[in-house]
């Protein structure tokens, strides 16, 4: 049993090493909180861990003493002890007190995180975003600004951003780990919550946070990533203005791209919009809005953002995202057509 003690010691050191070295990536980890919500949650984590480590230490001491002191050495029959009221009261009351220390801030934080009253006020200035989850992609609508984008969420930093969450097909869950906990996108109802993106932390993370789907939603659940561009309010306003400026599909630059636009208009526009205005009802938005596609950070949420990968994706989406809704909805394309199409799509930028 001495080996057990040694093993405990080794694992203790590895825990320490982990804690010191690895808190994860700043754009992804809940241990690098980058906003008010994540910070509140991180504080709760620290508080609960602290209390629990206290409990573990007490148990560990008793455990080790037993290992050392009470190993069977002879054939004696130990005294049969029935129990001890004093001890039993102690280990009932002390945990209750410890749990109260955790319960009070938990309840307070739970209510604070659920406070979305500003978004329901009339003429609210707060940024509200309608998130609609689809099988393996995300639709982001800004009702106040009357624009729609997809896959790359754009948000202003240092202010509360409010979200309406709903799913159009199966249940998903909307999660930006570094910025705050998740909330499910149900098929039944709209869920509301808020997040705040810290400017300084956003800079450290390269102004790009990783978003995830956290609820099993089918084969490509693991690939339902999205990105969050957290930029200052000024830049955000610029972006919104540029988006609002695109009243009709942008004219392609150059002959190849023009050719691509023609293909797009024949084969793709049935599902993909290239204007950011949200005139279409949300149920009619069958595929990601591509108005600002050229500025995206990933193709289909997971592939590197370049023409080659884009062509690969259009050639056979099924290999990259099994079970997606795009496969088979358009005719097969020649290499030339793919070239033209990707040239056109990569040129779709509301801000150059």
């Amino acid at each position: 049993m001495k080996r057990l003690a040694k093993w405990r010691l080794i694992s203790l050191f590895s825990i320490l090493a982990l804690v010191l070295s690895g808190c994860g990536e700043p754009y992804l980890s809940t241990l690098k909180p980058a906003g008010e919500v994540a910070k509140m949650q991180y504080d709760l984590m620290k508080l609960s861990t602290l209390i629990m480590v206290g409990v573990i230490i007490v148990v560990a001491i008793i455990f080790i003493l037993i290992l050392v002191r009470f190993k069977r050495k002879d054939d004696r029959i130990p005294k049969q002890v029935e129990g001890s009221h004093k001890l039993e009261i102690i280990w009932t009351v002390v945990p209750i007190l410890l749990l109260l220390i955790l319960a009070v801030p938990t309840v307070a934080a739970t209510f604070k995180l659920a406070d979305v009253s500003p978004m329901d006020k009339k003429n609210t200035k707060a940024i509200v975003i309608n998130v609609r989850s689809h099988l393996y992609w995300w639709d982001f609508e800004y009702p106040g600004q009357k624009i729609v984008t997809s896959q790359d969420l754009v948000v202003p930093t240092n202010e509360k951003v409010y979200f309406n969450l709903k799913s159009t097909d199966v249940k998903h869950s909307f999660w930006i780990p570094a910025v705050g906990g998740k909330l499910d996108t149900n098929t039944d109802n709209i869920n509301k919550f808020w997040l705040e993106f810290d400017d300084k932390q956003a800079n450290e993370a390269g102004n790009l946070f990783y978003g995830k789907c956290a609820e099993l939603c089918g084969p490509s659940h693991a690939l339902m990533d999205f990105k969050v561009k957290a930029i200052s309010r000024d830049k955000f306003d610029d972006w919104v203005a540029s988006m609002q400026n695109v009243k009709e599909p942008a004219k392609a630059q150059g002959t190849v791209a023009a050719q691509g636009q023609e293909i797009f208009n024949q084969s793709c526009i049935g599902c993909h919009a290239v204007t950011p205005s949200n005139k279409m009802p949300e149920t009619a938005r069958l595929a990601p809005n591509l108005s600002d596609f050229g500025n995206r950070t990933r193709v289909a949420g997971v592939l590197d953002h370049n023409k080659e990968e884009l062509k690969n994706w259009i050639r056979n989406p099924e290999t990259y995202k099994p079970g997606n809704m795009m496969t088979g909805k358009y005719p097969e394309m020649s290499e030339e057509q793919l070239n033209a199409l990707s040239e056109y799509l990569m040129g779709l930028k509301v801000q150059k």
Binding site: F70, R76, Q80, G83, T92, L99, G181
Partner: protein, 623 residues
């Protein structure tokens, strides 16, 4: 009769097991079937860890991965952990209360066969077009979206095996209430019997919500209903409630018997009575009660609102109190004792820190606002493996070693047992400890792969290496079982030397009637009391007389088989197959025909005569 079984041919032995109503043989059936499904589920776990060992792996496809995780969870919970726990309940509980069998031996056999055919049905999905792929929770929107028959296998398979579990639970309840030996008051019952009792009560109240949920889902998928179809006025959150009203008590259904097994092991190998027996009983009942008050903590991120989340958060934390009481009582049981580190004791000792780790992350998860971060990540995966493996699986290993001599009359090899322990223990912590951090670093659960560059790579590799150690541990265990069975060195009544409860007062394995004369129980740890008074065995509470025993029957097997056949008919009915409806009718006819036969045919059982029992004396059978 069980002692004579080995002299029979294979066919006769098989027939004996197919028709048996003896709780000890049914326990062996549960152990074999549960063990088999444990290996299947373990293999699925290995596949999961191979796939996740490196980023962007293509060992299995995305769709197949979802089938594997679904079947891993479903198999481990319903087809491995539950039946293995049931094996020990069947083998030990009637002996512990000094009964000759359970209250309804026929129903006991029926429960096993229903579970068995349900499990076989579920696993046949692998060969018949694909396994269920909506997760073991089978959330409604995804389950209805899922193509093929996978989810149908899940619904029908669980429905059949669920009936088996439910009637098994009722049987145990009635047994413990009615069949305790003279002097065995409730507060003299061994703790394993107490946990069996509370677990059975949980089964009685927890399985009906699952049954309701599965019936609704069955109607949606197979017969065109719309309970969960939002566009037609259905509601998918109802499924989540129904599932977790069952699902949370379910984890207590698993862990309470595990607590019971450890509550037997600590006193035996510390030679000391259980510290704070009455508070242990109280804590068990309280955990069982609170277990029904906390289901919504699985739904903190569903959007129930802050009031519900806050209430369920505090209720969940409250469960930490009785569980803490138990941990300290176990520690104080060993304190001042004379502790012998046998294989079962290794598992029991390792259980304390392992389960404690799972328990403290449980309290962390209970903090609703923080749970928004943990929920559906690898942190949760780590948490529930720490409680279910560190609690239930450790208990199953411990119980297997502890009760193997009582069930089979021979001891598992201690050295091999300890090798299994160290391999499994190290592998377990290697696999799951790091997963806490993976979750906190932002890795969602149930992902078939992950992209490089997110800081997940090396941690996942460590986790996969750990899984290999656990696999090796199980292989050594299997080798141990084979070697032990071949050698078959017989042991006496009390092979561990320090048995305290009634099961250690009778031969290993016990005669098929268990107790020749029902024993008189004079207090807690009845057999220990007699030993301390210098007696060799229990004082009989009745004169030697004829014993009434039930007849074997093939009908339980047929009843379960009928439902198994009918399920295929119900499932393929959707595809407008012409043979589907007749198959369903035939299957139901087999079931109801068997039930009819059982009702009209009088079966009075038989008597073992006093004279035959006296002859048994020569073989050293003592009451």
């Amino acid at each position: 009769m069980s002692t004579y079984a080995q002299k029979k041919g294979f066919g006769a032995t098989l027939w004996d097991f197919l028709t048996t109503v003896d709780h000890k043989k049914i326990a062996i059936l549960y152990l074999i079937a549960g063990g088999f499904f444990f290996l299947v589920g373990g293999l699925e776990a290995i596949f999961i860890r191979i796939q996740l060992a490196v980023p962007n792996n293509d060992f299995v496809s995305a769709g197949l991965f979802n089938e594997i995780i679904t079947m891993h969870g479903t198999t481990m919970i319903f087809l491995a952990a539950m039946p293995l726990v049931f094996a020990f309940m069947n083998a030990v509980m009637p002996l512990q209360i000094g009964a000759r069998d359970v209250a309804f031996p026929f129903v006991n056999a029926l429960g096993f066969w229903l579970f068995f055919f349900g499990g076989i049905f579920l696993n046949l999905s692998w060969f018949l077009g694909g396994a269920p792929d909506a997760g073991w929770t089978s959330y409604a929107s995804l389950a209805l979206h899922s193509k093929g028959h996978g989810v149908d296998f899940y619904i029908l398979g669980l429905q059949i095996s669920g009936i088996g579990t439910l009637i098994g639970g009722i049987n145990f309840l009635v047994t413990i209430i009615n069949m305790r030996a003279p002097g065995m008051t409730y507060m003299r019952m061994p703790l394993f019997t107490w946990t069996t009792f509370v677990t059975s009560a949980l089964i009685l109240f927890a399985f009906p919500p699952l049954t309701v949920g599965l019936v609704l889902m069955m109607f949606d998928r197979l017969f065109g209903a719309n309970f969960f179809d939002v566009t037609l006025g259905g509601n998918t959150v109802i499924w989540e409630h129904l599932f977790w009203i069952f699902g949370h008590p379910e984890v207590y259904i698993l862990i309470l018997p595990a607590f019971g097994i450890f509550s037997e092991i600590f006193p035996i190998f510390s030679r000391k009575r259980l510290f704070g027996y009455s508070s242990m009983v109280f804590a068990t009942v309280l955990i069982g009660f609170l277990g029904f008050m906390v289901w919504a903590h699985h739904m903190f991120t569903t959007g129930l609102g802050p009031v519900a989340n806050a209430i369920f958060a505090v209720a969940t934390m409250a469960i930490g109190v009785p569980t803490g009481i138990k941990i300290f009582n176990w520690l104080l049981t060993m304190w001042g004792g004379s502790v012998k580190f046998t294989t079962p004791m290794h598992w029991a000792m390792a259980f304390i820190p392992s389960f404690l780790a799972g328990g403290v992350t449980g309290v962390m998860l209970a903090s609703a606002a923080a749970d928004y971060q943990y929920h559906d990540t690898y942190f949760v995966v780590a948490h529930f493996h720490y409680v279910i493996v560190g609690g239930v699986v450790f208990a199953v290993f411990a119980g297997t070693h502890l009760y193997w001599p009582k069930m089979f009359g021979t001891m598992l090899n201690e050295t091999l047992g300890k090798i299994t322990f160290w391999l499994f223990f190290i592998g377990f912590h290697l696999t799951f400890f790091i997963q806490h951090f993976l979750g906190l670093w932002g890795m969602p659960r149930r992902v078939f792969t992950y992209l490089p560059g997110q800081g997940f790579d090396s941690a996942n590799m460590v986790s996969s290496i750990g899984a290999a150690f656990m696999g090796l541990g199980v292989i050594v265990m299997l080798y141990n079982i084979i070697v032990t069975s071949v050698k078959n060195v017989k042991v006496g009544n009390d092979p561990w030397g320090d048995g305290r409860t009634l099961e250690w007062a009778i031969p290993s394995p016990p005669p098929f009637y268990n107790f020749k004369q029902l024993p008189l129980v004079r207090g807690l740890d009845a057999y220990w009391l007699e030993k301390m008074d210098g007696k060799k065995g229990m004082t009989p509470a009745e004169p030697l007389g004829d014993i009434h025993m039930p007849n074997s029957s093939f009908l339980p097997f047929m009843m379960a088989l009928g439902l198994f056949i009918a399920a295929f008919g119900a499932m393929y009915h959707v595809n407008d197959k012409a043979w589907a409806l007749p198959v369903m009718i035939i299957g139901l006819l087999v079931t109801f025909g068997s039930m009819f036969l059982r009702s009209v045919k009088d079966d009075h059982g038989f008597h073992i005569h006093k004279e035959d029992l006296m002859d048994d004396d020569d073989k050293g059978v003592k009451a």
